[in-house]
C-alpha cells in the first residue's frame, strides 16, 4: 500500500467512470462518489509518513519518483475533500444536462492530476501532471458551449504560456544541476550564482503566477470561472488556483531553500518584497472591481484573485507567522470559495440558470439552507471572528504590522472592507429583499447539493473556533521549510507579541447571544408578517417593483468606477489584436500564384550576390 497505487487508482477510476456511464448513470454516479471517498480515506491513512517511491524508471533514462511529506499531504487532503464534495454536488446539478459521462470523467481526471502534482517528487512528473490538469480544466471550462469556448480559449492560451515558462525553468535546472529530483536540486543550487536563481524564480513564477492568477497575469480567471459549470468552478477556484501557490511554495522553500530565497536581492528590491508588493496589489484592486460586478459568479471570480493576493502576501513575507497565515488562508479560501460557488450553483439550478444579481431577490424564504451556507461562506471570506478566515487574516495582519510593512497591512485591511461591501451586495441581491413573482414556487436545493454545502459550512465554523487542528499540520510544514515553530494550542496561538484565543471569543459571543436572546424573549411575542405588509408611506406595495438592487453602491460606483477598468486585460487584448494584424500582413505575401514565388527567389539571390560582392563574407 503506497502512493503510486493511490495514483493508479485515481487515474484508473477516472477512465472507468467514463465506460460505466455508458452502462448506467446510477452506477457511474455511485462509483464516482465511492472512488473520491476512497481517495480521501487512502490519503488520510498516510498522515505523518514520509515516503519516497519510484514511479517510472525508463522515461528518457530519468527516474521519476513520488514523494509524500507533510506539505504534499496537506495539499492532497484539501484537493480530495473539495473534489469529493463538488462531485457529490454535481450529482443533481448535471443530471439533466447532456454529455454527463464526459463531465464526470474530466472532473475525476482533474482531481487525479492535482493529486499527481502534489505527490510528484521530481520536476518532470510534476510537469506531466501539470499539463494533464491544465488541459482537462480547459475541456471542463468550455463544457457548456457558447461564450464558454472563448473563455476556455483565453484560459488555455495563458496556461500554455505559463507551462512554457515552467518547461524553460525545468530544462535550465536540469542542464545546470544535472538532476531533476527536488531534494537534490536544493543542494546544488546553493552553489549557483544569485542572478541565475533569480532567472529560475522568474520563469517559474510566470508559470505559477498565471495559474494562481496574480494581478498582471489574472485576466483569464473572471471569464473562465463565470462560464464553467458551477461545481467545476468551485474546484477551479477552490484548489486548481492553489496549485499555483503550491508551485510558489515549492520553488521558494523547497527547491531554492528558505535562507537562499530570503537573501536574494537587497532591501526594497529583494525578490520576496516585490512578490509581496504584487500580492498587496492583487489583494486590493480585484476586490473593488468585484464590487461593481452584476453577475454573481464574476463577483466571486474577482474575489478569488483578491484572496490569492492575501495568500501570496502571507507566503512571500518570510516570517514563521506569515507563512502559517498564508498556508492557513490557502486552506480556508479553498473551503469558503468552493462553498460560495456551490451556493450560486444551487440558486442557478433552481431558478433556471439566472445568475444576474439585479433580477434575483428574497430567496431566503424559499431556499433557507442555501442561504445559511452562503452566509457562512461570506462571513468566512470577510474574516468575521468565529470563522476560519478570521484566524488566517489575523496571522497575516499581525506579521505585516510587526514586520514594519504598514502600507501592505493597509492594503490588506482595505481589501477586507471591499470584501465586506461586495459580499453584502451578493447576499442581499440574491437572498434578501422582496421575493419576485416568478420565483414564488422555487423549491429547496436537492439533498445532494445541501449535503456538500452543510459539510463545507461545518468545516469553516469548526476550524474557525478550534484553529489548532489545521495549525498543527501547518506548523509541521513550516518547520520542514526551516522556519521557527509557533506555539500552537487547540484554541489559537500564544506569542509574546499578542496571543489569539478563539475559544474565549466563541464563549463570549455565545454568552452575549444567550443574554440578548433572553432579553429579546422577555418582550411580548412578535407577530409574523409577510413581505407585502411593509411600510410604503401608506400606499400599497407595488408587485415586483419594491426591491432595491440595481447598482447597489451607486455613490461609490460613480466615484471609483473610472479607476477600476481592467487595464491589464485591455493591454493583452490590444497585444492580441496587434499580433493578429501582423499575421494578416505576413499572409498577404503568399498570394498563391507561382509567378510571385519565382520573383521572390530571384530577388533573394540578387541580395546574396550583392552582399558577396560588397563585403565578400564567404
Amino acid at each position: 500500500m503506497s502512493i503510486e497505487i493511490l495514483l493508479i487508482v485515481a487515474f484508473g477510476g477516472a477512465f472507468l467512470t467514463y465506460f460505466l456511464g455508458k452502462i448506467s448513470h446510477i452506477l457511474r454516479d455511485a462509483f464516482a462518489v465511492l472512488l473520491s471517498c476512497a481517495l480521501i480515506a487512502f490519503i488520510s491513512y498516510f498522515y505523518g509518513k514520509d515516503i519516497e517511491r519510484p514511479l517510472y524508471v525508463g522515461f528518457l533514462e530519468m527516474q521519476l519518483l513520488l514523494r509524500l511529506n507533510t506539505l504534499s499531504w496537506f495539499f492532497a487532503i484539501t484537493v480530495s475533500t473539495v473534489g469529493t464534495l463538488s462531485i457529490i454536488f454535481s450529482l443533481s446539478y448535471i443530471r439533466q444536462r447532456e454529455r454527463t459521462d464526459f463531465y464526470y470523467f474530466m472532473m475525476l481526471l482533474v482531481n487525479a492530476s492535482m493529486l499527481g502534482i502534489v505527490l510528484s517528487g521530481d520536476l518532470v512528473s510534476f510537469y506531466i501532471f501539470w499539463e494533464i490538469m491544465s488541459w482537462s480544466a480547459f475541456l471542463l471550462i468550455s463544457y457548456n458551449r457558447g461564450p464558454a469556448l472563448a473563455a476556455g480559449m483565453k484560459y488555455i492560451i495563458m496556461s500554455v504560456i505559463g507551462s512554457i515558462g515552467i518547461l524553460i525553468g525545468i530544462l535550465s535546472i536540469y542542464t545546470t544541476c544535472g538532476t531533476i529530483h527536488m531534494t537534490q536540486i536544493a543542494a546544488q543550487l546553493t552553489a549557483a550564482s544569485s542572478r541565475y536563481i533569480i532567472f529560475i524564480i522568474i520563469t517559474f513564477s510566470v508559470g505559477f503566477g498565471i495559474k494562481s492568477a496574480m494581478v498582471p497575469l489574472h485576466t483569464w480567471l473572471p471569464d473562465a470561472h463565470s462560464q464553467a459549470p458551477s461545481p467545476f468552478s468551485a474546484v477551479l477556484s477552490g484548489i486548481l488556483i492553489k496549485m499555483g501557490t503550491y508551485g510558489f511554495l515549492l520553488i521558494m522553500y523547497v527547491i531554492v531553500g528558505m535562507k537562499l530565497f530570503l537573501g536574494l536581492g537587497s532591501g526594497l528590491f529583494s525578490v520576496n518584497y516585490i512578490l509581496c508588493f504584487l500580492g498587496a496589489v492583487t489583494a486590493v484592486i480585484p476586490t473593488f472591481i468585484a464590487l461593481l460586478q452584476n453577475d454573481a459568479k464574476r463577483l466571486l471570480a474577482w474575489h478569488s484573485i483578491g484572496q490569492i493576493g492575501y495568500i501570496i502576501m502571507g507566503i512571500t513575507l518570510g516570517t514563521s507567522l506569515s507563512i502559517a497565515g498564508g498556508i492557513f488562508h490557502l486552506l480556508n479560501h479553498a473551503m469558503f470559495k468552493a462553498l460560495l460557488f456551490l451556493t450560486v450553483g444551487a440558486v442557478e439550478y433552481r431558478t433556471g440558470g439566472v445568475r444576474d444579481l439585479n433580477s434575483l431577490g428574497g430567496l431566503i424564504k424559499r431556499m433557507p439552507v442555501t442561504f445559511t451556507a452562503a452566509l457562512v461562506g461570506a462571513l468566512g471570506i470577510i474574516g468575521v471572528p468565529l470563522t476560519n478566515g478570521f484566524v488566517s487574516k489575523w496571522l497575516i495582519y499581525k506579521s505585516l504590522i510587526l514586520e514594519q510593512h504598514p502600507f501592505f497591512a493597509f492594503a490588506a485591511f482595505i481589501g477586507t472592507w471591499g470584501t465586506l461591501l461586495s459580499f453584502y451586495k451578493f447576499l442581499h441581491n440574491m437572498f434578501l429583499g422582496q421575493l419576485p413573482e416568478k420565483y414564488k414556487d422555487v423549491e429547496k436545493a436537492p439533498f445532494s447539493m445541501q449535503f456538500s454545502m452543510i459539510i463545507f459550512s461545518i468545516v469553516i465554523i469548526l476550524t474557525g473556533i478550534l484553529p489548532g487542528i489545521p495549525l498543527k499540520v501547518i506548523n509541521a510544514i513550516q518547520t520542514s521549510f526551516g522556519f521557527g515553530p509557533l506555539h500552537i494550542t487547540i484554541w489559537g496561538i500564544i506569542s509574546e507579541t499578542g496571543t489569539i484565543n478563539m475559544v474565549n471569543i466563541f464563549f463570549a459571543l455565545i454568552g452575549a447571544c444567550v443574554i440578548v436572546w433572553l432579553i429579546f424573549r422577555a418582550g411580548p411575542k412578535a407577530t409574523k408578517i409577510t413581505q407585502d405588509n411593509n411600510y410604503a408611506a401608506g400606499a400599497a406595495i407595488p408587485k415586483d417593483r419594491y426591491h432595491y438592487t440595481v447598482d447597489f453602491y451607486n455613490p461609490l460606483y460613480r466615484m471609483i468606477a473610472p479607476f477600476l477598468r481592467d487595464f491589464v486585460d485591455e493591454f493583452y487584448m490590444r497585444l492580441a489584436k496587434w499580433i493578429q494584424g501582423l499575421g494578416n500582413g505576413v499572409r498577404r505575401i503568399y498570394t498563391g500564384d507561382v509567378g510571385y514565388y519565382v520573383i521572390y527567389i530571384i530577388l533573394f539571390l540578387a541580395v546574396l550576390i550583392f552582399i558577396q560582392m560588397k563585403w565578400s563574407i564567404w
Binding site: 471572528p385 471569543i505 440578548v516 429579546f520 411580548p524
Partner: protein, 296 residues
C-alpha cells in the same frame, strides 16, 4: 476575579451609553433654545418599547438584531475600561476592529430580511460610509500600532501611562486629529446621519423595527457610540487606571462631539465620501509617514 470584570464592564458600557444618549438629546435641545426631555428619556423610551408588541419578518430578522447587540457587547469585553480589561488577553486591537464588524453587519442582515427598499438604501449607505471612514481609521490605527510596536491595546495604554498621552506626543498628534475629524462618521451623528435619515429614507435600516427590535437597536447604538469613543480614549488619551476617570474622559469627548453635530446639516453620501477621503485621509497618511520616519 475575571468573571466579575466580564459581568461589570458591559453593564458600565450600557449605563454610560444610555446616559450619553440622554445627555446628547438634552444638550441638543438646549442648543436649539428649547427645554428638552429629561436626561432619563432613553430609559423611558426603552421601557415603553419593551412593552409594545412588534412585527417580525422572519428568523433572520430576529437573529440579525440579536447578533448585532451581542457583537457590540463582546467588543466591550476586549476594550480596556480603566483597569477592567477582562478578555483583551486573547486577541489585541485586530480582534476589536473585526468584532466591531458585528454591529453594522447584524443590522444589515436583519434589515435585508425586512424586504423594504428604505432599509436596503440605508444599509448600502451605511456600508459605503463605513468604507469611507475605514480608510483614514486604518491608517490611524496602523500609525499607533507601528509607533508602539505592538498590536495589544493593553500595552498601548500602559505605554501611554508611563510617558504621556499619545495625543500630545509629536508623531501621534497627527493621527489623533484625523481620528477626531472622522469621529462623527463613526458615531453616525449629524453631519453623517445619512444612515438613519428620518426625512429621506424614513430612518433607514430601522424602518421595520417595532417595539423590542427598536429597543435592542437603540441599546446597540448606545453600545457602539460608547465603544468608538472608548477606543479613541484608549488609543490617544491614555485610558486611565481607574474606570471613573476613564468615564469622565469618555463623557468629555462625547460632549465635544455633540456640540459639533448639533449645528451641522446632513451631508449627502457623495459629499461625505469626498470629505472623508480628502482631509482626514491625507492627515492620517501624513501621520503614518511621520511615524515611519521617526521610528524609535
Amino acid at each position: 476575579m475575571r468573571i466579575v470584570e466580564i459581568v461589570v464592564s458591559p453593564i458600565i458600557a450600557f449605563v454610560i451609553g444610555i446616559f450619553l444618549l440622554g445627555l446628547s438629546r438634552k444638550i441638543m435641545a438646549r442648543i436649539h433654545w428649547r427645554y428638552g426631555p429629561p436626561i432619563t428619556q432613553p430609559v423611558i423610551d426603552i421601557i415603553k418599547l419593551f412593552n409594545q408588541t412588534s412585527m417580525s419578518h422572519g428568523r433572520l430578522f430576529n437573529l440579525g438584531i440579536i447578533l448585532s447587540l451581542a457583537g457590540s457587547m463582546v467588543v466591550v469585553l476586549f476594550l480596556p475600561i480603566g483597569k477592567l480589561h477582562p478578555l483583551s488577553g486573547s486577541g489585541g486591537l485586530l480582534v476589536i476592529l473585526y468584532l466591531m464588524l458585528f454591529g453594522p453587519l447584524g443590522i444589515a442582515l436583519s434589515g435585508g430580511e425586512a424586504a423594504n427598499p428604505n432599509t436596503s438604501i440605508g444599509i448600502s449607505r451605511t456600508l459605503v460610509l463605513a468604507l469611507g471612514y475605514e480608510l483614514p481609521l486604518i491608517l490611524i490605527l496602523l500609525a499607533v500600532m507601528s509607533h508602539y510596536r505592538s498590536i495589544s491595546i493593553v500595552e498601548i495604554v500602559r505605554a501611554q501611562q508611563e510617558t504621556h498621552w499619545s495625543l500630545l506626543s509629536f508623531p501621534l498628534v497627527v493621527p489623533g486629529i484625523a481620528y477626531l475629524l472622522i469621529l462623527p462618521a463613526i458615531l453616525g451623528e449629524r453631519p453623517f446621519e445619512l444612515i438613519k435619515a428620518p426625512q429621506e429614507i424614513s430612518s433607514g435600516p430601522m424602518v421595520e423595527y417595532g417595539g423590542k427590535y427598536l429597543a435592542l437597536a437603540t441599546i446597540q447604538h448606545a453600545f457602539s457610540s460608547f465603544i468608538s469613543i472608548a477606543l479613541f480614549v484608549n488609543l490617544f488619551l491614555g485610558g486611565s487606571s481607574n474606570p471613573g476617570f476613564f468615564i469622565m474622559k469618555v463623557i468629555v469627548v462625547f460632549v465635544v462631539e455633540v456640540l459639533i453635530n448639533a449645528v451641522f446639516p446632513r451631508l449627502r453620501i457623495e459629499q461625505a465620501i469626498r470629505y472623508l477621503w480628502r482631509w482626514p485621509a491625507l492627515i492620517a497618511f501624513a501621520g503614518l509617514i511621520l511615524v515611519y520616519i521617526f521610528k524609535r
